[in-house]
C-alpha cells in the first residue's frame, strides 16, 4: 500500500520536474534542492489542475491518467527544451562558492544534520499516524473521497447543503492530491495518504534552501533553513496534512520568485512565480487575496523603478496565467451554493468602520498568537528584532517589496477578522496560527536578508543573484 503511495509521489515529482524544465530557459540557475522543491510545487499544480479538468469533463482520477500527463509533459520537454535537460545532471558544488573555513564547515554539517534529522523524525511519525486531524477529515479528505469516487461535474456533493460544514466551495488542489495518492493504493486508506506529508515537508525545506541559495552563501542559507525547519507549527501542520502547509509552499515560491525577478529581471523567475501563484488560488480561498497582493507589489515595483517594459510580462504571468490555469475551477465554483462566510461581500470599508471596535481585540489576540512558545518558539520576537535592526534595509528597494509581501497578508487577515461576523475569540483560536503559517517562510527569508544586509552574522558574505 505504501509503495503505491510513494510511486504516486514520484510521478507527481516527475510531472513537476517536466513543468520546471518547460518553464526555465536557464535551469542551471537553481541548485538541486531548489529544483526538487520547485518540482513538488509545480507538480502539484500541473497534476491537480489536469485531473480537475478531466474530472470536470466527466472522467474520474486514475493513476494512468497522471502517468499520461507525465509522459505528455516530458515529451514536450524533450521536444522544446532538449538543451535544458542537462541541467538535471549532478554538478560539482565547488563551482559556485569558495570552500568554507574549518569552523564554518563544522557548522554546515551540524546544521545539515539538524535539518535532515528533523525531516526524518517528523516524516517517520507522519507515516505512522493515520489521518486524524479534524479539519483534514471533515473538509479536505471528504472532498478527496468525493473526487475519487465520482467526476466533479456529476457529483451531487457540491450542491448538497447537508454537507456544507465541509465548505463546498473550498478549492480542490489538496483534495485532488489526496485522491491522486489513493488512485495508486486501490482504496482510500487513511494511512497511505500520509505519504504526502514527508514529501511536502522536504519540499518546503528544500525550496526554501534553494531560494536562499540564489542570493546567499551556503552557511547563511543553512542557518535560516534550520530556523524554518525547527518551527513547531510548520512541522505539526505539515505532518497532519493541513492545507495551510501547501499554501505556505506556494506563497513562499510565488512571492520570493517574484522578488528575485524584480532584482534579476530574468523571465524564468517570473514564470515560476506565475505558476506557483496558480497553486495559491487552487489551494485555499485566501489565495485570491494573496494573488491580489502579489500583483499589487509587482505593479508598485515596476512603477517605482520606471521599468514599464516589464509591465506586460508581469500582467501575463502574475495575473493571466494563474487565472487561466484556475478558470475552470472558478466557473465550476459559481454553481456551488454559498452557505458559509461571504468575506468577499464584507470587504466593503463600511463593514470595517462598523466593526472597528473589534480592532484592539484583533491586535491583542494576534499578540497572544505571535507569542505562543509552543507553536512558534521565538520566531516572531526574532522577526520583530529583524525589523528593529537596520530598518533602512527594508524601507528601501528591494527590501521593501519583501517586507510588504510578508506584512500585507497579515494586514489582510487582520481586516477579515475585523469585518467577520463571527465570535472573534473562537475564530482566532481556530484560524490565527494557521493563517500565520502562510507567511512564515516569507518572514524567515526576510530575516535572512536582513541578517546579511546588516552583517548580523559572522559568516555573512556578499550577496549575489544568479542570472
Amino acid at each position: 500500500m505504501m509503495a503505491g503511495a510513494f510511486l504516486a509521489i514520484a510521478v507527481l515529482e516527475l510531472i513537476g520536474a517536466a513543468v520546471f524544465t518547460l518553464l526555465c530557459a536557464e535551469p542551471k540557475r537553481w541548485g538541486l534542492a531548489g529544483k526538487l522543491g520547485l518540482s513538488f510545487g509545480l507538480g502539484l499544480v500541473g497534476l491537480t489542475v489536469s485531473l480537475f479538468l478531466l474530472s470536470w469533463g466527466g472522467i474520474k482520477p486514475a493513476w494512468w491518467l497522471g502517468v499520461l500527463v507525465m509522459i505528455a509533459l516530458w515529451a514536450a520537454a524533450f521536444g522544446f527544451r532538449r538543451g535544458q535537460l542537462a541541467a538535471w545532471r549532478p554538478e560539482k558544488s565547488a563551482r559556485r562558492s569558495p570552500p568554507p573555513k574549518g569552523w564554518e564547515k563544522i557548522l554546515e554539517w551540524t546544521l545539515l544534520a539538524f535539518i535532515a534529522g528533523i525531516c526524518a523524525v517528523v516524516s517517520a511519525v507522519s507515516l505512522l499516524e493515520p489521518l486524524v486531524e479534524w479539519d483534514v477529515l471533515a473538509i479536505w479528505a471528504m472532498k478527496a473521497k468525493v473526487l475519487l469516487h465520482e467526476p466533479a461535474s456529476l457529483s451531487g456533493y457540491f450542491t448538497d447543503v447537508s454537507k456544507a460544514y465541509s465548505h463546498l466551495d473550498y478549492p480542490l488542489l489538496w483534495p485532488m492530491a489526496m485522491a491522486w495518492v489513493w488512485t495508486w493504493t486501490d482504496q482510500s486508506d487513511l494511512l497511505a495518504v500520509k505519504a504526502l506529508a514527508p514529501a511536502l515537508l522536504c519540499s518546503i525545506v528544500a525550496l526554501f534552501f534553494g531560494l536562499l541559495r540564489r542570493k546567499h552563501s551556503r552557511t547563511h542559507a543553512l542557518v535560516f533553513t534550520a530556523l524554518l525547519a525547527g518551527v513547531p507549527m510548520l512541522l505539526s501542520q505539515t505532518s497532519r496534512l493541513m492545507s495551510d502547509a501547501p499554501l505556505a509552499l506556494f506563497v513562499m515560491g510565488a512571492f520570493i520568485c517574484c522578488y528575485l525577478w524584480l532584482e534579476s529581471s530574468h523571465p524564468d523567475d517570473l514564470r515560476l512565480a506565475g505558476v506557483l501563484a496558480a497553486g495559491m488560488l487552487f489551494t485555499k480561498n485566501e489565495g485570491i487575496g494573496l494573488l491580489a497582493i502579489l500583483a499589487l507589489i509587482a505593479a508598485m515595483a515596476i512603477v517605482a523603478q520606471r521599468r514599464m517594459k516589464l509591465f506586460v510580462p508581469a500582467v501575463v504571468w502574475l495575473a493571466a496565467v494563474p487565472l487561466l490555469l484556475t478558470a475552470v475551477w472558478f466557473v465550476f465554483r459559481l454553481g456551488i451554493p454559498k452557505v458559509h462566510e461571504d468575506y468577499g461581500g464584507r470587504i466593503n470599508p463600511v463593514h470595517f468602520l462598523t466593526n472597528a471596535s473589534r480592532g484592539p481585540e484583533v491586535l491583542s489576540g494576534s499578540l497572544g498568537v505571535l507569542g505562543n512558545w509552543n507553536d512558534w518558539l521565538l520566531l516572531w520576537p526574532l522577526a520583530a528584532l529583524g525589523l528593529a535592526v537596520a530598518p533602512m534595509n527594508w524601507l528601501r528597494r528591494p527590501g521593501i517589496y519583501l517586507f510588504l509581501a510578508a506584512t500585507l497578508p497579515l494586514l489582510m487577515y487582520g481586516y477579515v477578522y475585523v469585518v467577520s461576523p463571527w465570535d472573534l475569540k473562537e475564530l482566532m483560536e481556530t484560524t490565527a496560527n494557521r493563517l500565520l503559517l502562510h507567511v512564515t517562510p516569507l518572514w524567515v527569508f526576510f530575516l535572512a536578508e536582513q541578517a546579511e544586509a546588516a552583517q548580523l552574522l559572522p559568516f555573512g558574505r556578499p550577496s549575489r543573484t544568479r542570472g
Partner: protein, 206 residues
Amino acid sequence: MSKKRRPANEAKKVGAPSAPVNFFSWVVLAVLIVMLLWSCRAFFDYGDLGSRLSGKTMVERGYLGSDEWHNFLARAGRARTQALYAEARRRGIPEQQRSRVAAGWAWIVETEKELAPDATIYLNFASSLHYYYGSTIWYPRRLDVNTERRSIRDEETLERNAQPMDASQVGTLRALGYTHIVTAAPQGARLIDLRRMLDLVGGATP
C-alpha cells in the same frame, strides 16, 4: 533594477555595523542559537510519539493521534486546548483524561468493517464528531441526520436541523432506504442494522 538604484555595496554601508547594530547582532545571534537549540526538542517530542505509535494497530495509532491529552500534535495550533492541557498537568491529571475525539475516531474506523459498500446510515443524535468523521470515513456510503437535505454548516445548525427518530419511525427510515442507524450509547455510539431490527420486531423488510 532601476539605473538610479543605490548600488548593493552602498546599500550595505547604510546598514553596516555600528555600535547599536553590533549589540543587536549579538542579541540576534543569541536568539537564533536559543531557538535552534530549543527546536532540538522536536527530536524528543516526535521520537517519543513515534516510539509510542510503533508496533500498534492502525486503529490504536489513530486513537493516539487524535488524543489531545496524550499527543502534542493534537494540541498544535490550538491555544485553548494547550491551556486545558497545561492546567491538567499542573493538577497532575493529564493521564486520567480520556479524549472524546479519539474514541469517536476509533469507533467510526472500526465500524466501517460492518458496513456494506451500499449502506445508507442515519445518525440519530446531533454529534458533529460522528457526522463529520462518519461522512468522510464511510464515504461513499451516505450518512444523514435528517431525512431531508437541511443546511448543516456548523454545530449550531447541526443541533437545529438534526431530526432524531423514535422507535416507531424505524419503518419509515427503512422505507426511505436507510440500512443502519447510529444511536447514542453510554460509551459513545452504537450501530444498529435496521433490517435485522425490523426482523426482530416482526416488521416488513423490503
